[in-house]
Amino acid sequence: MKLKLGVFIPELLRHLFKRPSTVSYPFEKLNLPKDFRGTPVLRPELCIVCKSCVRDCPAFAIEIETLSEEEKKYRMTIHNDRCIHCAQCVESCPTGALYMNDEYEIATDSRRKLKIEYIYTRPKKAAQKHSEK
């Protein structure tokens, strides 16, 4: 191996007159790839409260509370401050009630704002069958 003084200079000078490779974020948003794993979102009308998502979520980010047994009223809380955006819940959900959108710039100054609650009643069997098609 021979040493050459200043081998890097040509490369450096070449780039001096090139456009920098810096993107102008945050003034221009970046393109996201298709299927980017952003934030999990629930479609309450599809959820049959089977709790597969709760069981499989590695970060305990989903909680389902029963508000009323007779009315079949439930509250699902997605803790975005715990979520690791792995999309396992989407995969586990038998009805496709959960999906990932592509939001990722959700920084805030309070953890409370990251907690998303859905209050819903469990849909009737028929309605749910329908939407599966």
Partner: protein
Amino acid sequence: MKRITIPIGPQHPALKEPISLRMTIEGEVIKDADVRLGYNHRGIEKLAESKTYIQNIYLMERICGICSHSHTTCYVQGVEALCELEVPRRGLFIRALVCELERIHSHYLWLGVAAHEAGFDSLFMYTWRDREVVMDLLEIISGNRVHYAINTIGGVRRDLNEIQKEKILEGVEFLKKRMEYYTNLGTTEPSFVGRVSGVGILPEEKAMALCAVGPTLRASRIASDIRKDDPYGAYGEFPFEVCTADTCDVLGRVVVRVKETIESLNIVEYIIRNLPEGEIKVKAPRRIKEGEVVSRYEAPRGENIHYIKSNGTDKPERLKVRAPTLANYPATIEMLKNGFVADIPLIFAAIDPCICCAERFVEIIDERKGSRGIMTMAEIKRKFKKPEIKKDFVWPL
């Protein structure tokens, strides 16, 4: 000269390998070194016993942010062996593809970090700029830049389509060109070579006795690579060479990694061109049969080994993880002895302990407790009044 002991670290970003090095030095020369782990210790092994096999995939992934795929692959391989699942070939190929892309990103990252440790910021900037190309490829394959979450028990979660394949080939082309340039640069730039050659010598016998792994071992003339010695997944089919160097120093480790990157780029190309058709995964049972398994994997930094013992439930009985960096610490201590203070970061970076932030931590240990501050700007202070620090946090033990 007076001997003094200085703390380097207390904390190092890798999960299993958070570290505090205590150096005893005389002037600028290191006389002795000692390691203390535990700053990053989170108790993953215990935690794993209380999580299901599926949840554990994601836990394993988060052992480490650089070789995240290594840990999941090693883990799912083990679980698949336990329940005797036959993973479809396409699944294995995609897994290997992500493995190699990860190796490429890790070695690019490492080259940058090594340059940064040597104070060569321009090279750091250039390599990391080019690393973005790999990150983009990984993102289009898996949907996330770092924790790909592509492995699942029984195969992989996402398939590849034609557009993605094309993009990967394009990226590989570009990366190969750049890596060749960096090979040339890294081995001919006098100030850089002056910093890395002859530094951190680890002779062959010592490397063996101290159980070094990965590029650190290979830079000491030993051609050991789990991908060749104990082929897992689809690695039996890929043509590639095990790269070694015989200088036994940091320069050798640079050379090994650079060569390996080029090999990996070739493997990626091979995988894309020979990707078999078919399913990508098979369904896995939730409960895993009783048994035990040792799973080995060649991570970018060396051998990664998981020992899994199952007891027939949906949670493992015992999950032991040995990440490669840990295996290299005894060797590192050997290398540090009689080196210069200036070489600590380089030698340390040479085993690639995900040092990228290893020195950012460098806690300026200021043992005099509660160094006093003069409040010149009382007003500002009031304005930025903060909630109290919770010093009284009690550990429930």
